[in-house]
Amino acid sequence: MTSLLEGLHLFFSYGGRGVLHDVTIEVQQGQFTIILGKNGSGKSTLLRIMAGLLKPDGGTLQVMGRDLNDLSLTERAKIIGYLPQFHRPIFPFSVEDVVLTGRASYVNLIPGHEDRRIVLRALERVGIIHLRLRPFTELSGGEQQLVMIARVLAQEPKIVLLDEPTAHLDFVNQAHVLRLIREFADSELAVVAVLHDPNIAFLYGDRFIFLKEGQVESWSSSQKPWDTEVLQKVYGPELRSIPYQDRALVVPIIDSK
C-alpha cells in the first residue's frame, strides 16, 4: 500500500470562522476512504482542499511525494480527478462530448482519436456506452451522475475525489454508483468520497474519517467506526448501530411506548 496523498495539520477558515482545525489525512492506493460528518462539519471543504480548489491557511498537502502547490493545474488534473457537487449545464451537449472534456489536461487544442477511445472506454466501464449520443440534459439524475463519473475516469487520475456522489439519487442508483466506486478502489485507484449517509458508507468503504466541527474524531483501536459510542460522539446521542453481516447499520432511536 502506498500513500498517494497526505495532508498534515490542515487549517482553514472562511470569513473569520474556523472551518478546519488541525486535520491530518492520508489517502492510500486501492482504498476507498469516506469522509463523514454532520452538515457544516467541513467535509466538502476538506475535499476541495485535497483537490487543490481551496488553499489551506496552514498545513501541507503532498501528492505522490510532491507539494500540491508545486503542481500545475494540468499536472494536478492528471493525478487527481475531482467530481464537484451536482451541477446542470445549460447546453444539451451529448454524453460523449461531456465526458470528452475530462481529457482537457491531455488535449492541446482539439481532442484526437486516442482521447475519443479513452472516452468510450470510460463510458463502457461505467456502463453507459448506450447513452453516448444522448443529450446530457435529457438524462435522469442517476444517469447524469454516471456521466460525470465517466468524465473523471477519462481524466485517467490516480486519485479520485467525489463530493457527495449520491446526492439527489434514488436508493437503487445510490447502490449502483457506490458499487462502481468500490470497483475503482479495487482496481488500484485511491478513492475519497464525502457522504451524508453512514449506512451506505459502511457498506462500501474501507476507511472512515469523521469530522466534527472541523476536527477529526478518533476512536480507540478496539472500537469499530460503526460502534454506537463512536457514532454518538459524531452525530449525537439519539442513535444506535445494529450489526449487519460483519459491519453494522445505523438507525435513530425511536420511543417504544
Binding site: 451541477h87 449545464p89 445549460i90 444539451p92 461531456v98 472534456t101 481529457r103 487544442l109 482539439i110
Partner: protein, 336 residues
C-alpha cells in the same frame, strides 16, 4: 433535419451565395449577362475583355460589389462567431457580442471621431469597443475571478455609461454630424470598399482564427468554472482566451459596419438548433451561416430600394420574427 446534412448544407451555401451576390444590385445598372461576361472573360473571352475591363462593369463588380459582398460575409461571420463563443463562455444563450458594452463603446468612439475628428473613425470605434469590453471585464473581477452574473451586470452598467456619453456627444453636435452618427449606429454596408475591407479584415480574421483554434475549450468552459478547474484548466485564463478574440473580431467588424443588430444572437441559436451544441462543429458552422445570413439580408436590401436602408434595420426586422418562429417550433438547443 439530420445534423450531418445540415452541416453539409451550411458549408455549401456560401459558395453559390457569394458568387450569386455579385449579380445582385439595383435593376438597371449592369445586366446579368454583363456580369457573367466579365467574370468568365479571362477564360472564355466571348467579349473583348479590354472593353469590359475599362468600364462601368468592372467598377461595379470589382470595386463596388466584390468588396461589399466580402465585407458583408466577414462581418456576419465575425458577429455570429463571436456570439457563439460568448454564449458558451457565459453559459447563457441570451448573450451577444454587444452585451458587454461593445456596441455602445464603439458607437461612442465613432461619434467622438465624427464630432471632433480627433482620430480616424474606425480606429476610434475599434478602440472604444475594446475598451468598453475591457472595462466590463475588470469591473466584474473580484477576488481574481469573474462570475458570469457579475460580468453581465457590469456589461449592462458599462453599456449604460457609454450610451450616456454617446448622448452627450450627440447633444453637443450639430445636425449634420448628428445625422452621420445616427446613421452609423444603425449599421451600414453601403460604404464598403477595398480600403474598408483592408482595415477590418486583419482584426476580424485574426479573432476568428483564434476562436477556431480554441473552440473545443469552449465546450469545457460551458460546463462550469469548477468543472473546468477540475479537469486542469484555469477558468479565468480560458475565459480571457475566448473573450479577447471574440471582442477583437466583433470590434473590427463593428468599426467598419456600425452596429448591426441581432446577428450575434440569432445565428448562434440557429446553428445550435441545426447541429447541436458541440462548439467544435457549431463554431465553424456559425461562421458560414452568419456570413451567409448577413450577405443574404444585404442582397435583399440592395434589390429592395434604389436608395440605401441601414442594414441593421433589416437584420433586426428579418432576424427578430424568424428567431421567435424558431423558438416556438423546435428544440432550442439550450435549457433554463
Amino acid at each position: 433535419m439530420q445534423p450531418r446534412l445540415a452541416l453539409f448544407l451550411i458549408y455549401l451555401i456560401p459558395v453559390p451565395l457569394l458568387i450569386g451576390s455579385l449579380f445582385i444590385g439595383p435593376a438597371d445598372t449592369v445586366s446579368t449577362k454583363e456580369v457573367l461576361a466579365w467574370l468568365t472573360g479571362p477564360w472564355f473571352a466571348p467579349t473583348p475583355s479590354a472593353v469590359l475591363d475599362s468600364g462601368l462593369v468592372r467598377t461595379i463588380i470589382w470595386d463596388v460589389r466584390l468588396p461589399r459582398v466580402i465585407l458583408a460575409f466577414l462581418v456576419g461571420a465575425a458577429l455570429s462567431g463571436s456570439g457563439t463563443a460568448l454564449q458558451a463562455l457565459f453559459r447563457n444563450p441570451l448573450v451577444d457580442p454587444y452585451l458587454l458594452g461593445l456596441s455602445s463603446g464603439s458607437a461612442f468612439g465613432a461619434a467622438l471621431a465624427l464630432a471632433t475628428s480627433w482620430m480616424p473613425l474606425q480606429v476610434s470605434a475599434f478602440s472604444f469597443g475594446m475598451a468598453a469590453v475591457g472595462a466590463s471585464y475588470f469591473l466584474a473581477r473580484t477576488r481574481k475571478s469573474v462570475t458570469v452574473i457579475s460580468l453581465i451586470l457590469s456589461g449592462i452598467i458599462v453599456s449604460g455609461i457609454f450610451t450616456s456619453l454617446l448622448t452627450i456627444v450627440q447633444f453637443l453636435t450639430d445636425p449634420f454630424r448628428l445625422q452621420t452618427i445616427v446613421h452609423w449606429t444603425m449599421g451600414n454596408l453601403h460604404n464598403a470598399s477595398w480600403a474598408k475591407l483592408n482595415s477590418s479584415a486583419p482584426g476580424t480574421l485574426a479573432g476568428l482564427v483564434w476562436l477556431l483554434l480554441f473552440r473545443w475549450r469552449m465546450n469545457v468552459l460551458a460546463l462550469g468554472d469548477e468543472e473546468t478547474r477540475a479537469v486542469g484548466l484555469n477558468p479565468e485564463h480560458q475565459k480571457l482566451l475566448v473573450l479577447i478574440p471574440a471582442t477583437l473580431a466583433a470590434s473590427a467588424s463593428v468599426a467598419v459596419a456600425g452596429v448591426i443588430g441581432l446577428v450575434g444572437l440569432v445565428v448562434p441559436h440557429m446553428t445550435r438548433m441545426l447541429i447541436g451544441p458541440d462548439n467544435t462543429r457549431t463554431l465553424p458552422a456559425s461562421l458560414a451561416l452568419g456570413g451567409s445570413f448577413l450577405l443574404l439580408v444585404d442582397d435583399c436590401s440592395r434589390v429592395a430600394a434604389s436608395f440605401e436602408v441601414p442594414i441593421g434595420i433589416f437584420t433586426t426586422l428579418i432576424g427578430g420574427p424568424f428567431f421567435i418562429f424558431l423558438l416556438r417550433r423546435s428544440r432550442v438547443g439550450w435549457e433554463i
